[in-house]
Amino acid sequence: MTYDENRLFLIMLGFGLFMGLVTLLYVIKQAFGRDGGEVGGWEIRGAPGRIFAIARTTLAEGLRAKVGAGFAAIIFIAIPIFYFTAEGDGTIKGRVQMFLSYSMGFSGFVIGVLTIMFSCRSLSVEIASKQIFGIASKPVPRWQIVAGKWVGVMSLNVALLTVSTIAAYAGTQGVIKRFKNQLTGELESYGGLTPVQAATTVAALEDVHGIGRQGVQSPIVDAFAKSLGRTPDQVADLLLRLPEGTRMNLRRFDELRRHVIACRAALKAELPDFAPEIRAQVDKLKKSGEIPEGWTESKLLQNFKAAVIGQFCTIPPGPQNARQWKFKGPRPIKGKNVIMSIRFKLDAPGYVPPQEVRGEQLPENTLLCFWGFGDSAKADYAETGEPYPVNSFFELEMPSECVEDDGTIVISFANMDPRRQSVSMDLANKGLEVLYHTGTFEEGVVQAALAILIPVACLASFGVCASTFLSFPVGTLIVMTLFIVASSMGFVADALAATKDYAGANMTLEWEIRRFTVDAIGWVLAIGDLDSVSELIEGRAVGWAALWSNTWKFVLLKGTAVFVLAVLVLRRRELATVIV
């Protein structure tokens, strides 16, 4: 960032702060600017009943009014359309992932927009139409009116989200059932099985356990043998009679079951402590006066850290350059039936051409690598190697026996590709994770739905607050802007972060102001930081801890702060005022 750009930033920042200040003053004027206001009215006794009554009426209005019904109709028309049109990459996994992504993502978006419209009109329209006289002339403290409206808006959201989640879940099961029926038909036609045998065989896919990879007998064979009462060889013969497409579909269904219709937790790799090394580098630069102009110490430390970690996570070819990572997390359950996997993305610069090695063809854009699971000195140590695709995520199942008693998992990696291509993994962006099952798919769906509710609850607070002192269109415009900005928060955060670390000579105060402002903007604009739909389609659990953390930050803390502001404004507001 240049000096002029920095100036421009500060000018824009000043303008933004001015506008923010004007808005804040207006709110304060509304809240405290005149005599009068509610006396007392903080009692808790009887509050649940009144809040429930107001919420119920708000909900009834939402359900019976055309706006609420319209939004519900949009969702319920869209989900069947997604059911019939979602194809993804053509595989069952892609189809399910796309259907889940569209239906849950779309429902979340529509419910977000509905929340904004419904919450922004909740009080403003009642005040404008004087319906509020009916409540305000009754013994209802105004905080209970605000709370009732919020609960009413959220009740509508919960109702809509529940139904749309059930529809998405049912749709997913429908897609899977349709696929199973197709598999059953193919087993009957090509495998010569009776309808009952075919159905039993397909059902047995749900009980496949163990790792399937090249050179090892597929666990699907074991499951089929058990369900059909045949030997593995007989099952192998049966599978060989099937067309290649059907065999692929059997594998893909197994993959879907393990990687999508699942609820998995992720562990991130622990890195060695590079701090002393980085500190030494920074001190050396400072001593020699070679710190680049405009760089702060924190930026320097961050850059060094990124460089060192990048160096550690870049693996040149050859066994001597092998790396080892440790993963620590909640102790996973050990056992033959426990499904664990590593998910990784090998980043390789440029095109990797195909090559033949000892009669074996290494495909293009793959790298021959080896993974080791566990302590190599122990009996449970397992190793596997094959050409893995580069620049895309790949999941590889690992034996759960390699987990140490204290929950530690040691994973080794060696780049053994003869094409002498270095490879790297971006650990900060899920470049290497250990995934293990923690619950059922249904649990994952519930967690994803709850995660959708968190930003919606925060938005509802903003909307109800806006409706206490702004008209419906103005309130909607402001909260909608917040929603759009918050939805693209990653982009905004990156843009803000780019400006954050610039500091010219003698610009310490400006830098501090900017840093504080950027952080504050980031905090104000954020309404949730869980990408639950992405997690869901990757078969990941959002996690109760993450849900609680987000609820605390965005509902209990921020939502309550906004709620208190709304109450203060409404307590002071003249509900029958006439602007002349």
Partner: protein, 398 residues
């Protein structure tokens, strides 16, 4: 102490109450209420009269905590109107029925009952009684948004009564109501008044106020222009009226002579006419008895049990009985639905009120004057005695 401010036990009290509406920049633009002093005592039916824009509704809204006074004080039951605890004792029927369009009548009343923390059983009991009382039993399942204006007003009345209020504030209560509904409002006022409840009636329909109010205040330009009992305000000292059974022409002439001899003047001798309201109630009552179908509000008379002070599940004033006797069994002679002889003077009194209410005040808007205190004159006993004594024989002959 001043009559308006001295009663510490007043249900409703305004002391120098002033409300100025301002523009966005805080500049004073409209002086809506100007140093208003007012007391309303327990059990009183008080009328707040005035033409449009006289400050009645603004005063009511201040009393309900919907507006805050610019200066002065308003108190209800000795507490500020913005105190939520006070509102538990108030029933309010706004000038228009601002109801939730998507709720039906039952849901609406249930909702307001919940706000008063009534238990489920009591909510149901009162809801059913009120719906029956306001004649919306058949339309109870319909959404309020589909109601006619009059039907919505009836639900507006019912919601104001759900808590059996100690103070009922009615803002233009008869607007949009048919005569049956208007009669019902009056019945409710009487029933509540009979139980010692206080009613504040804000209206510019003078006949309604005249029928039911004990005292009235007339406002204009935000100021109180007159205050007193209805009788005090309406009584004409320069005219005497005698009401008798039908007299012969000869007797009337004799009376004329007596009056002339006494130095008086007979202004008019005629037969009183029925009131249109009474006629209307009779006709509708007959239609009800004939069970003629209607999709609108049913015409009912009487008040619900809990308002009438009865805890019995059987109606204290049987609805059917009320319908049958609609307009026949008045609770007060002055408010009977039976065709009664309304003296010509009553019409004159209406004129007086109208004149008072529409007369342009001579006071400056910014310099308030004290209220007009009207004292009732002593009746002219001499004229009465002379009038009656010579004609006693004629009356017997009649």
């Amino acid at each position: 102490m001043n009559e308006s401010t001295g009663d510490n036990f007043a249900v409703l009290q305004c002391i120098a109450l002033t409300k100025v509406f301002k523009d966005f920049w805080g500049r004073a633009k409209v002086l809506a209420v100007d140093k208003l002093d007012l007391d309303v005592h327990p059990g009183e039916v008080f009328g707040l009269l005035g033409p449009n824009g006289s400050g009645k509704s603004t005063t009511i809204k201040i009393l309900l905590g919907l507006l805050y006074p610019t200066s002065g004080t308003a108190r209800l039951f000795g507490r500020p109107p913005t105190d939520t605890a006070v509102k538990a004792r108030i029933g309010f029927m706004p000038e228009e029925s601002y109801l939730y369009r998507y709720l039906n009548a039952r849901e609406t009343l249930d909702y307001y009952g919940r706000l008063f923390k009534l238990d489920r059983h009591e909510r149901r009991r009162r809801t059913e009684q009120l719906i029956e009382m306001v004649g919306l039993k058949r339309a109870a399942h319909r959404q309020v948004g589909t109601y006619s204006k009059g039907m919505a007003r009836r639900i507006g009345l019912a919601q104001a009564l759900i808590n059996d209020p100690d103070l009922l504030i009615l803002d233009e209560p008869t607007t949009g109501l048919d005569p049956v509904g208007t009669r019902q409002i009056k019945d409710v006022i009487e029933a509540l008044s009979g139980r010692g409840k206080t009613v504040v009636l804000c209206s510019h329909l003078l006949a309604d106020v005249e029928d039911v109010c004990d005292r009235v205040a007339i406002m204009y330009g935000g100021k109180r222009q007159a205050l007193g009992t209805v009788e005090d305000l309406l009584q004409r000292r320069d005219v005497t009226q005698i009401t008798t059974r039908e007299l012969s022409v000869q007797t009337i002439n004799t009376i004329r002579d007596v009056v002339a001899k006494a130095g008086g003047e007979v202004l008019a001798v005629d037969h009183p006419t029925d009131r249109l309201e009474s006629l209307f109630l009779r006709v509708v009552g007959a239609a009800q008895r004939d069970k003629i179908e209607t999709s609108g509000a049913e015409s009912t008379v009487g008040v619900s049990n809990f308002l009438a002070g009865s805890s019995s599940s059987e109606s204290g004033i049987s609805l059917v009985e009320s319908l049958v006797h609609a307009g026949k069994e008045p609770t007060k002679p002055a408010q009977t639905s039976e065709p009664v002889a309304v003296p010509a003077e009553r019409e004159v009194r209406g004129d007086v009120l109208k004149t008072l209410a529409t007369k342009k005040p001579v006071v400056s808007p910014l310099a308030p004057t004290g209220p007009v205190e009207v004292k009732a004159p002593e009746p002219d006993r001499d004229v009465l005695n002379r009038l009656l004594n010579p004609t006693s024989g004629d009356e017997k002959s009649n």
